[in-house]
């Protein structure tokens, strides 16, 4: 009998002791965690990219619950996540226009001359430190720091030496914008069709000399659409893309160096084609 009773007693006592300890712990040392934080953190994409301005998805969730961050603060998640987050907090989703990254340079391998043979660290930032290997001091260096920075595989280096951005994959996280030492990537609303593909502040002749596609500040585009486009520091600048009317676009596209023009957006067919190609790529 003892053989059975003693172990039962021992175990019972152990259990009792242990549970009392836990009760004590539960009573004394409870850490409240807001269930909403957990719920929101679950919804977020968990890319932890920091585009929201917080140190990670979880930090963002905490900030949203506290009211420090807007519900649509996660550009990666887009509208869908914003809506879900808002519904947890009981708010209406704030409207969010999808943005994408755009490259403001057309200094392709053939258009923009090299200064000379570059020897050294093959990143844009490093090359930029020694002035870059391109004669143009403003254009794309083509080592693809932006591509490295993109967590979403939305960029690739084109054959022309300029990075290409896949509109569909881009989440507007802005990492490429940060990465580029020449500040030639910017986020624009996806429906903005007209882009200035140059950032050179050099005066026309100098700019022209180093890159065939540079903006030479001739003012043709400004004349075509004075409300939407201005010249500033030898460079055309779009002040408000909504003021560019469709019928003005042909005139804008008369730009002699094509430094301003319509963004080439892949049509759905083309998109399908590239997808297919990718599928068969080794």
């Amino acid at each position: 009998m003892m053989d059975v009773l003693v172990p039962i007693l021992t175990m019972g006592l152990l259990g009792l002791f242990f549970s009392l300890g836990l009760v004590f712990a539960y009573k004394k040392l409870r850490v409240e965690e807001d269930p909403r934080v957990v719920a929101i953190a679950d919804i977020l994409p968990q890319a932890n990219c920091g585009a929201c301005g917080y140190s990670g998805c979880r930090a963002f969730a905490e900030a949203v619950v506290k009211g420090d961050a807007p519900t649509n603060g996660c550009p990666v998640g887009g509208e869908q996540v914003a809506a879900q987050v808002a519904s947890i907090l009981g708010e209406e989703a704030q409207a969010l226009v999808k943005k994408v990254a755009r490259l403001h340079c057309r200094g392709t391998k053939t258009a923009a001359k090299d200064r000379g043979e570059y020897i050294g660290v093959t990143t844009c930032r490093a090359a930029h430190l020694v002035g870059g290997q391109k004669q143009c001091s403003y254009g794309c260096l083509g080592f693809g720091d932006c591509i490295q920075a993109c967590l979403f595989d939305a960029m690739e280096m084109g054959d022309d030496g300029l990075p290409r951005i896949d509109e569909n994959k881009c989440t507007a996280c802005g990492r490429c914008v940060e990465a580029c030492p020449r500040n030639i990537i910017e986020l624009h609303p996806v429906d903005q069709e007209i882009i200035v593909f140059c950032r050179s502040l050099d005066r026309g002749p100098l700019a022209r000399k180093v890159c065939k596609n540079a903006c030479i500040a001739c003012g043709i585009c400004v004349r075509a659409c004075p409300e939407g486009i201005i010249l500033e520091n030898n460079l055309a600048k779009i002040v408000d893309y909504k003021k560019i009317l469709p019928e003005q676009i042909p005139a804008i596209e008369k730009c002699p160096t094509k430094a301003i023009g319509r963004i080439h957006r892949a049509s759905e067919e083309e998109q399908a084609k590239t997808n297919e190609k990718q599928a068969f790529a080794p």
């Binding site: 200064r115 000379g116 502040l201 005066r203």
Partner: protein, 437 residues
Amino acid sequence: MKKKTFPRGIHPPGGKEWTADKAIEVLPPPEKVYIPLHQHFGQPAQPLVKKGDTILRGQKIGKAPALFSADVHASVSGKVLAVDGHPHPLGKPVLAVTIANDGQDSSSDEEEIPDPFSLSPEEIIRRVKEAGIVGLGGAAFPTAVKLAPPADKPIDTIIINGCECEPFLTSDYRLMKEYPEEIISGAELIRLATNAKQIIISVEDNKEDAAELLASKIQEKHIFVEVLTTKYPQGAEKNLILALLKREVPRGGLPFDVGVVVQNVGTTKAIWEAVRFGRPLYQRVITVSGSGIPEPKNLLVRIGTPLQTVIDFCGGLKEGVNCLIMGGPMMGITQWNLEAPIIKGTSGLLAWSLPPASQVFDCIRCGRCVEHCPMGLTPTQLAKYIQFGFWDEAEAWGVLDCVECGCCQYSCPAAIPLVQWIRLGKATISALKRKTV
């Protein structure tokens, strides 16, 4: 007695024999000069002239907008052709004044002062500032700022830096040989301006004759000539102060934190000329050398002279030259555009043909970079931290203390561009800091 020096450092080949005995020649002022308004540490100067103006040599054409900046003066007399972007040796085009030389060389120098040693410190500094003098030793730091340290940092020692530790360069050496009195007088002016007690003129032992010449001209008891071991970077001010005075400039600090002002011999001579003759800084001595130059020379050139003119004067570039460096081989900047002008900070122009780039290996952790870094850094670790984006670690390991002397990369058997990585790190870290502040 054992000659003083600092720990670590390297012994690169000298290359000084090419030009050491070439007396300073005057390069005739070119037909056009391009004077950038930004040639110094700090903010660019603001233009005071416009296209079409007629100006005199020495006339102020750019005005310093802030304390950390310097005035810019015309180096020839003539007509302003443009105030416009022009290629700059540092890479990006900057605003420059293009002047067509009228050949008159009519000057607008300020009045001469027969006895400059009687001037008040304030007046000396004012004249230095008016002359647009910046450090000619490389950093192009506005000299007037350096001469007026904060009141709580008394200066006791002036070091005149005649080390010229960069290989190939001999312009400082020629200055010491040809203008010893001017340098000594300039040093005395600096001492008066800063109220210091003693002056040390430091010269490396590969220029012993210059040191002897200087010593023979000194009458005052508070001026010494100190001959140091030839070692790169003997001329870097923190190492120089350590070698001469056994004082360590604290991390992130400046020489005045340990009561010292360091000035290059060229700067010292320029100070003398500015204070004594009211002559602004519109010319300087440079060394043109290297195996790609048919006639290596030491030249007195006007600021704004295009590189092409300088090279042509020395016989043009030889066949096969593929590397053109402004400055010395250790810290100089590669040039690609011969339209770029000589600026105040240009100490030399070197040309040679480099063999095809040597293969870069992964770091083999030989530790030679650590062994030679004069600042006590661990360059290989810094470079790796930077390569992998560990900015905090890189900063904790002292990346911001690097003076970019290049000793590490010189000694690296794996040919790793360490200095470029470190520069990248310094740039990124300062950018991040600016963002978080």
